[in-house]
Symmetry: C2
Subunit: 298 residues, 2 copies
């Protein structure tokens, strides 16, 4: 039977493209808040014996998580066969180690919450640094969509002589992958972080790239400090105006204003933002389709 896709508080346009690409039916959901702020949810579609997919974009996850868990639980109670989650951005992946005694390694309890609620998970380039795979902390079936092919295609189509630049060693693995796919040269810089907003970046010699457009690529842009520091250095080195590309453009605080003042800023449509240029609907739907097909429902 055709699966259902429920859009929970997320981009309606991406939601309906996901639904079409999956050949699914749009699930009907009613939600409101009680006067005291508690959430009310009601599923109007018939979900019994059907696969259900929730599209919920989990940026700013603290204020979304409870309703998401409530919806998954309700679908389960109403007899859904399997329950999948599509979240282009998977939060809390960066706290992947107890850096200091007593810290919450939030990636782990967050993974348990989602794993208890869902059978299937599709996301785009989760921040896998110390974990090698989602399976280390998630106990559900997951599929990761790599943004590199879409980013590489965008670069090939829009930038004449790109020089790809990764802001730190964590980005090397997949900046090099984008560069290879775009058939472009690349450089990795070294970064020292002194706090949430304090970042120092060191650059290799850049003289030989003066005829190239620097293309800075990172998985997550949050405060934007790493990018801003890097852009400063590129300007000093006399390189042309840079292009900044994020898979997940969170753009906290004034990051967007400051970055777009000195560079062309582009993002995948992982987090809804005016900078969204790179579509993710096709690979997200394909990944969820593959998970649903791998172990078909009765």
């Amino acid at each position: 039977m055709t699966p259902l896709v429920f859009n929970l508080d997320s981009d309606p346009d991406l939601g309906s493209r996901l639904c079409r690409a999956l050949g699914a039916e749009a699930g009907e959901l009613e939600q409101r808040h009680f006067p005291d702020g508690e959430s009310y949810l009601r599923v109007h579609s018939t979900v019994h014996n059907r696969d259900c997919v929730i599209f919920c974009n989990l940026f700013q996850p603290d204020r979304r998580i409870l309703r998401l868990l409530f919806l998954a639980d309700t679908l389960r109670e109403l007899g859904a066969t399997r329950i999948g989650l599509i979240t282009p951005y998977l939060p809390y992946m960066r706290q992947d180690k107890r850096f200091h005694a007593g810290e919450c390694v939030s990636s782990r309890p967050f993974a348990r919450l989602l794993s208890n609620a869902f059978d299937l998970l599709v996301t785009v380039d989760p921040h896998l640094h110390r974990y090698h795979s989602l399976d280390e902390i998630y106990s559900l079936k997951s599929q990761v969509v790599p943004a590199a092919p879409m980013i590489a295609r965008w670069i090939s189509e829009h930038i004449e002589r790109p020089l790809l630049i990764g802001p730190d060693s964590e980005s090397e693995q997949w900046v090099s992958q984008v560069a290879k796919l775009a058939n472009a040269p690349w450089q990795i810089l070294s970064k020292q972080r002194h706090g949430d907003y304090q970042v120092e970046v060191s650059l290799p010699r850049l003289e030989r790239w003066q005829q190239h457009t620097p293309v800075l690529v990172d998985d997550i842009i949050s405060s934007g400090r790493t990018m801003l520091e890097t852009l400063d250095h590129l300007q000093s080195a006399g390189l042309p105006r840079a292009c900044v590309i994020a898979v997940h453009g969170l753009f906290a605080g004034d990051a967007w204003q400051r970055l777009s003042a000195i560079a062309d800023v582009i993002s995948c449509e992982s987090v809804p933002h005016p900078s969204n240029r790179i579509s993710l609907s096709a690979p997200l739907a394909a990944a969820m389709g593959a998970l649903l097909a791998a172990d078909p429902s009765p």
Copy 2:
């Protein structure tokens, strides 16, 4: 060993009185938000082999729940013996039935989340209407603090000839209890709810109570519509200015302004609010102390 009490985003004054009354040590907690809004938590106290109690007041629960679960999980990982929760207000108890097909019966998934995270729970007068006990949905050890004795004492001390009034049949059981403890007469009204903000109240004959101060008591005041409707009728019947007492004064929207314009509004300190007059620290601490003593840690 002395238990630790951690105050998570809750009233610091009530928190320290709880800590003193429990003979506990104040747990040291560091928290902030990353620039993208995700939560950072760090426990500075040594919790290994110690009982830990989190005081987290769960009104407006959606924006508090994730940090609460993260903290409980962190204490567990750090080796806490048992983890208790003191929340004067226990949310999501009113959605205790699937009133319409497809509705989320949120009391159940919410109970599961807390039951997975905690060993012990203390709360004040949870809204037990269709459930007879928290044990029907909570699988942890819980103790319920009744507010009736504290409310009855406050009435005895402050109101000369009180007539206790319960706004609907759900309130009868414990309005009658308050009345008996305060040695005062009582009346229960009948209520018809037509929506979150639309309520109709019917009153018995009130002429014989013209020399009494009406004291309206309810467990939860949210939109305040039930109380406002009732106060209108009491005014029409020529009764003196009423006193309104809530165990949990949520006072959504303009409820507080509208109620306090026509009545003296009093609440237990369950939800921090200017109307708080009735202290809960002693019975809350006693209840948690009893749970901790019942099955002492090694």
